[in-house]
Amino acid sequence: MRRARAALELLAPVLLVVLVALFGTIVSSSTQTYVVTTLVNVAIVVALYLFIGNSGVLSFGHISFVAVGAWTAGILSMPASEKPAIMPSLVGFLRDTTVGNVPSLALAAAVGAAYALLVGLPLMRLSGLAAGIATFGVLEITHNVLRYWEKIGPGLNTFSAVPETTGLLQACVGALIAIVVAFAYQWSRYGRMLRATREDPAAARAVGVSVYGQRLLAFTLSGAVAGLAGGLYVHLLPVNAESFYLDLTFITLAMLVIGGATSLWGAVVGAVAVSAVDSFLAEAENGVNVFGRTLDLPSGTRIVVVGTLMALVLILRPAGLTGGRELRVPRALRRSVLTKFSA
């Protein structure tokens, strides 16, 4: 039974992601970009879930790890010939090193993890409101530094000329890696310990679980996944420092909250559902054809809709659309299967 539950917990989000990717193969290439973005969003939201969902501690800082990953992968995979034009002040070592697509993604994950570890060392002592505000500070600092420090990146410029390797396949594989990592973590004894600290920190401490240590581990791991997602992002679109700031923080948190922050299934469902709505509205802001009528929404509609959704979910159904639970086989079905087996 435990096995079956575990299998379903992994299979359901994997299937959903694969379905989304397959859907991407049958649509026009302009729609495909939305599908690819959706898959990258899945990776980011799963990273958020890995920490926030398992620990119950709020973080506004994860987009910093996405940004750091994007910077790493972008700088290292940009052709050396293009670097001086976009990043004239880059330090020598970064200027002279160029790596391929896959190594750049691996490095993005590694740098994301390292940065999260560095940040987490002091910050994981905080919880509640203090954690929310401190991680927000991390976002501000990271954004501020990336925006102006031209020795380590393009500063105010945009990352153009990065090889656009994130297509359907790469995004799908990235999202699946994120899901598998999150799944493996939550079934490991570390994941179970962290969730115990979420339910009752005092009791967990009493049986010898280090709340600080467990949170730090999850934070670092989620930093790695976020870094990877950042790498995927920079290989998808020309991004800059503004791409990884309040807007992305808002939209990914909204995805997590709307889906249900305490389950992997919720994170993936939230990412897919909100991305779908968001993509549709983004398209509609440019005018789309719906059932023979042209729908032309003014720009800004997207965030109004997503913001309203998020506020509604928070007020009416704080556990999110999925109720924050993993997908279960409906009880009736389970019973009939069981009786068949025992008969």
Binding site: R125, L126, G132, V138, I141, N144, Y148, S299, G307
Partner: protein, 298 residues
């Protein structure tokens, strides 16, 4: 570093405005334990009202009246639609919710008014200098300082001398006991929300003088800085929150004016590094007596 009187006066003006915003945020935090991330959007709404009135050539006082009306209606609506239903949630959830509300309001502004921005310049004559002791200082710097000081004084009197003020202070210290004594929760919360709305409207009027171009992200940066200041000062007490707000406004006004750009651009990083440090070392804030911890409502 170049320091002149105008820079100092500007710093005071900005410090005063931030202090008012800090009080607005602190008042609501006191009674609801809710950090209102959407506070800046109240200011933004007020600024748009001023621009709306200016575009139609309405007299200044009508614009100001409209600004106050809109901001107060909006803050009361926010209380009813968002704060009250979320009252039983944890502070972290409430922070996420107000974060969402901030974005929502900002994009509603984008929908209505577009991204180009509107002009609210009916009080722009306040940008003219006054000559004080042989030094030219822009009027708005002085007006902002004086108005802020006046508002703070009025608030001190209200909190210290009236019954509703006493009830608010008691509710901020221990809401449950206050209610047991007959303090009306809804009345206290309503008053806090109303006062914080009044302050937001005041800030909107002052801020549009210096920044007459009103865009959807009007006052967003300022709110983020004020929040940092409130945490730095200590959000559990109104007085320390206000000092924190003033300090951060003064510092960014002063350093922003006195330092060359290539140095002042990292100011936010230093401010937020300080915020994190304070949260780690003195969770109660800089301007509180030692040992007073920021309590979250249980």
């Amino acid at each position: 570093m170049t320091v002149d009187w105008q820079t100092i006066a500007d710093a005071f003006g900005l410090g005063g405005m931030y202090a008012l915003m800090a009080v607005g945020i602190g008042l609501v935090f006191g009674v609801l334990r809710l950090v209102n991330f959407a506070y800046g959007q109240l200011v933004m709404a007020g600024a748009y009202s001023l621009a709306f009135a200016y575009e139609r050539g309405w007299p200044v006082w009508v614009g100001i009246l409209l600004c106050f009306a809109v901001v107060i209606v909006l803050s009361v609506a926010m209380d009813w639609v968002v704060f009250r239903p979320l009252r039983t949630q944890t502070p972290a959830v409430m922070l996420v919710a107000t974060f969402a509300v901030a974005f929502l309001l900002q994009s509603i502004a984008l929908l209505w008014f577009g991204s180009l921005g509107k002009i609210a310049a009916s009080l722009s004559s306040l940008n003219q200098p006054w000559t004080v002791g042989g030094v030219d200082i822009r009027k708005i710097s002085i007006v902002a300082t004086v108005v802020a000081a006046g508002c703070l004084l009025a608030l001190v009197l209200l909190l210290g001398r009236t019954n509703v003020g006493l009830h608010m202070r008691a509710a901020a210290l221990d809401f449950r006991t206050a209610r047991l004594l007959g303090v009306r929760a809804n009345r206290v919360i309503g008053t806090a929300v109303l006062l914080s709305g009044l302050l937001a409207a005041t800030v909107a009027v002052l801020m549009t003088v210096q920044t007459p171009l009103v865009t959807p992200d009007f006052a967003l940066r300022d709110t983020i800085l004020v929040l940092a200041g409130v945490v730095l000062g200590g959000m559990n007490r109104l007085i320390s929150a206000t000092l924190g707000g003033f300090a951060i406004g003064f510092a960014s006004g002063f350093l922003g004016g006195a330092l060359p750009t290539n140095q002042s651009q990292y100011l936010p990083s230093f401010l937020f590094a300080a915020v994190i440090l304070v949260l780690l070392i003195r969770p109660g804030g800089l301007f509180t007596r030692f040992g007073q911890q920021a309590a979250e409502r249980v």
